[in-house]
Amino acid sequence: MIEPRALLAEAERAFAAALTGDVPDAGFVVAGRTVVLRFATAAAAERLTPAFAHLEPATPDAVADLTICAWDDASSGVALAEPATGMTGPGLVYAGGPIRVAWDIQTRNLQALDLDRRLAFFRYPDLATLPAWEEAAPFRRILHWWTTGLGLQLVHGAAVGTDDGAVLLVGQGGSGKSTTALACVGSALSYLGDDYCLVEPGPTPRVHAIFGSGKADAGSIALLPRLAPAFRATRLIDGPKRIVFVHDHFPDAFRRSLPLRAIVVPKIAPGSVSRLEPLGRAETLRALAPSTLFQVPGDQAASFARMSALIRDLSCWRLFVGGSPESAQPLIADLLAGSVRR
């Protein structure tokens, strides 16, 4: 039997042994909370901080709402006593009381969180094997565990907006949400993310940027002239998709947080004209909830309830994206300005 709390304790032991103190803490503010990133080695910091470069940096004297300790065995020279599951499946997770532990059998990545101590551990055996998708959205599972405890919801979706607020673009791969969002980079619309965003429910819900990466395949890159050079030059490749850190190329494109005004489900459509149509709430929930629940697992019943409540409170739209994704931008701006009515 592998006891999850013992694994958490082993993670704490290994990180303490690996920590040299030579690498300064990094940190960022998201949804008004401070996250401190503590690295055992400079190599880990170099790979796992760029995705947060667009966020407000934490001040040196800030009290951490969450501290994430990250390291790899290879560059630190400290080996984690790995759990010997004897299993071939992809992963194991434990959630009990304040403790969350996930062990990825394929990558041998350990993620553990103690909510009471606001302390998390993220370990890879060797940064050389760190997948590009992990670099694009580091600590995703830890951040979901932590934020769901705060009543926030990490969603699989993109967000763009204006001073009037933001829309959440949701849908499965190929729906056009990422391309529509990335096409806003460098335009009159601000960008908050193209794959994951953090939603804060409430009387006036808000959407917060969390990861600064953008992901696109060759077909989408061809539709993104402003970002295409960055995508072609990137070293981060995840299957058919290339990943860039948008902030590196368009630092002014981001908004870190906006009021959330509507949920939009894009669909690539024939023709050159984009258009908006009202969409039923159930269909919107089908576009948002399954992909979020299965890509951001953990506390799923509470997550589903939060997403359902959000959809009840916001207007929902189908965005038919025709021709250039740029053609959708005036429609989104008009929707946010209140000049499009159901």
């Binding site: 039997m1 592998i2 006891e3 999850p4 759990p83 010997a84 599951t85 004897g86 299993m87 071939t88 499946g89 992809p90 992963g91 194991l92 997770v93 434990y94 959630a95 009990g96 996930a102 062990w103 499965q172 039923g280 709430r281 159930a282 269909e283 929930l285 089908r286 909830a289 399954p290 992909s291 629940l293 299965f294 890509q295 697992p297 953990g298 799923q300 019943a301 589903f304 309830a305 359902s308 959809i311 009840r312």
Partner: protein, 140 residues
């Protein structure tokens, strides 16, 4: 027999007359509209097949036995998908408002499996307090 939602594995929501159900462990999700949404709502409120058929027959939407057969087939499909659990023997049925207009159309379960690939990429075996069992590598 009375049922309830298999809330260990399943989440469900009724929005604008359509029910969305997600099986969290299989990666499959479902949609139920019109009569299917009504019957689902009644089932997870603890109504039996016969009680549902009687209610619909009383509204003049069909002959009771034929309605019961339609509902029973629907229940069988829900059980096959693992969406329902047996309610306690002494469970009482809660109030339900039937929303669908006539005519009666046999309830159907729409099944979506496009998220199952994600379950293969990032499936999670949730474990209890005592920890993760160590299993032989050839065991699925």
């Amino acid at each position: 027999m009375r049922h309830r939602l298999n809330d260990t594995d399943v989440v469900s929501e009724l929005l604008d007359g359509e029910v969305i159900v997600i099986h969290l462990h299989s990666g499959t999700y479902y949609s139920m509209q019109a009569n299917a949404a009504d019957v689902w709502t009644a089932l997870i409120a603890g109504w039996t097949v016969d009680e549902i058929a009687e209610k619909i027959a009383a509204a003049g939407l069909g002959e009771r036995d034929a309605l019961a057969a339609d509902v029973a087939r629907f229940v069988a499909s829900l059980e096959t998908e693992g969406l329902l659990a047996a309610a306690a023997e002494d469970a009482a049925a809660g109030p339900v408002e039937f929303l669908s207009p006539s005519p009666w159309i046999a309830p159907e379960l729409q099944v979506y499996t496009d998220m199952q690939d994600w379950m293969l990429v990032d499936p999670i075996h949730e474990v209890a307090e005592e920890g993760w069992p160590i299993r032989p590598t050839d065991e699925k």
